[in-house]
Amino acid sequence: MRHVVSIGKREFASFFSTPVAYVFIAIFLVLSGVFTFFVGSFYERGQADLTSFFNFHPWLYLFLVPAIAMRSWAEERKSGSIELLMTLPISVTDAVLGKFIAAWLVLGLALLLTFPLWITVNYLGQPDNGIIIAAYIGSWLMSAAFLAVSMCMSALTKNQVVAFILAIVVCFVFVVSGSNIVLDAFQSWASANLIDAVATFSFLFRFESMAKGVLSLSDIGYFVVFTGAWLYASLVIIEQKKAD
């Protein structure tokens, strides 16, 4: 645990000693504003809630989380510093968790910095702040799932661009598996159970109720298990490929 903190601290500081974190947070804030006000018609809806903000989070994360995670292992392997890291007296689990937590905190920070939106709705009306907080927590949980996938893709390759593209593709699959595009394709031939199964794997499906502030145990469990599984996969991949 101690080592997780040491590694996490180093990784977190490294996000801020390079422009990565600043660029990420700036773009996240700009895009979430654009989506909320222009695409999500925040004003036109005339409701004091942040649904139009949260609804776009899966799509924002789809591109931004792979961008922040792509260097995590790819860079480490390319520069050879992985040899240094893995010969320090730490376990691979420490390294995986440390890196994950650091990046997840950056995502959390980006989310926190959207607070002006929250102030805006509170100024314009009387929103249910409990719902908003729940939706924030849900969104942060979902970002962990995106992050775990993206870090796993970064562990697969030495090339950050490849890691980025792979991560987008895999995340995209999990995002859209619940959308009508995919489900319609299944509609004609698959049984209802299969369609449901596909849909339940979808981030969109899982996040739908979370965006409305409903944190059900099954949705939370889904994201926790999903994140854990992908982190475990990266652990296995790193053990296998660290020296390649």
């Binding site: 601290k9 490294s14 390079t18 520069s79 510093s81 040899e83 240094l84």
Partner: protein, 311 residues
């Protein structure tokens, strides 16, 4: 105490390390020699727990690396090839990070960092980012990182590669300064480094051990070891030199008047030669005894399939 038994590492079809066995005890400063791709780095990566051996056993201070990896890694300082580090950090941040991971806490940490910084002379670059340092400084940061916890075992992969002669000298002095109680393993291509630094040489080629002994023993294996060079001031009859006991071969360069007498292996011929010169009043104005050519031995030992067994 490091004990390696029948260590093998296979990459696909290729045996990178092939049944390597050796024991090292405190005080050993081992030079790991071998051509590129001989398996030096692979062996070091296995010793430090970075790579898992395909078969064989490594035990360090009585513990098996397989089961006690982390507690063994605490006693090892390792400089990987090319001295990789986190380039975006400053030197002092980097050393703090390593000290943190190595669990050097509180006032001990400040002390450890101060000591290691003065040992490898990093004072002037403490607040620079590692990416902006020269090669020599980067290498020293790597050494500092390996030394910060005062390890019992120090494994340095090409510590002087790519440094200028002054920097090489500094690194060598540093290694010599280290406590005599440590095990130090250095890999290098530079033969002179081995005679300057090490009290033990291991030559590896094609993943196999080709030589294990002291630098002197290595020199003795040179054909030229103990050979005698003469220079004649004018032409004279020297045919008798060739027939002296123990002289294996005589090479004469008529242009320069240089004569080289090569002895049978293990025989010293210098006294016979000088007696002969004295008796015949040969016009010799220069006479030197050769200490042996490391390059020759190295080439000889690492030649493909020169799998001659060595004591």
């Amino acid at each position: 105490m490091i004990s390696v038994k029948q260590l093998c590492k296979r990459f696909g079809q290729q045996m990178a390390v092939n049944h390597l066995s050796f024991d090292l005890s405190p005080g050993d400063i081992v030079g790991f020699l071998g051509p590129n791709g001989a398996g030096k780095s692979t062996t070091m990566k296995m010793l430090t727990g970075f790579l898992t051996p395909s078969s064989g056993e490594i035990s360090i201070n009585g513990k098996s690396l397989e089961t006690d990896r982390i507690s063994i890694q605490k006693q090892i300082g390792y400089l990987p090839e090319g001295a990789p580090a986190y380039g975006e950090m400053t030197v002092i941040q980097f050393l703090h990070f390593i000290a943190d991971i190595r669990e050097i806490n509180g006032s001990r940490r400040e002390q450890a960092i101060r000591d290691v910084v003065s040992k490898v002379a990093l004072e002037e670059v403490l607040n620079k980012t590692i990416d902006n340092l020269s090669k020599g400084f980067k290498r020293r940061v790597g050494l500092a990182q390996a030394l910060i916890h005062d390890p019992d075992i120090l494994i340095l992969d090409e510590p002087t590669d790519g440094l200028d002669p002054n920097q090489k000298h500094q690194v060598r002095k540093l290694i010599q300064m280290l406590s005599k109680e440590k095990i130090v393993i250095i890999s290098t291509h530079i033969l002179e480094e081995v005679s300057a630094l090490c009290n033990r040489v291991m030559i590896i080629a094609e993943g196999e051990k080709r030589f294990d002994g002291t630098p002197d023993e290595l020199l003795k294996r040179s054909n030229a070891y103990n050979s005698v060079h003469l220079h004649l001031s004018y032409a004279a009859d020297i045919s008798g030199l060739d027939e002296l006991d123990g002289v294996k071969d005589m090479l004469v360069d008529h242009k320069t008047g240089k004569v080289t007498l090569i002895p049978e292996p293990g025989v010293s011929i210098v006294h016979l030669v000088s007696e002969y010169i004295y008796q015949r009043r040969l016009p010799v104005d220069q006479m030197t005894v050769e200490g042996g050519q490391l390059d020759d031995v190295f080439r000889q030992l690492t030649a493909p399939h020169a799998a001659e067994e060595v004591a």
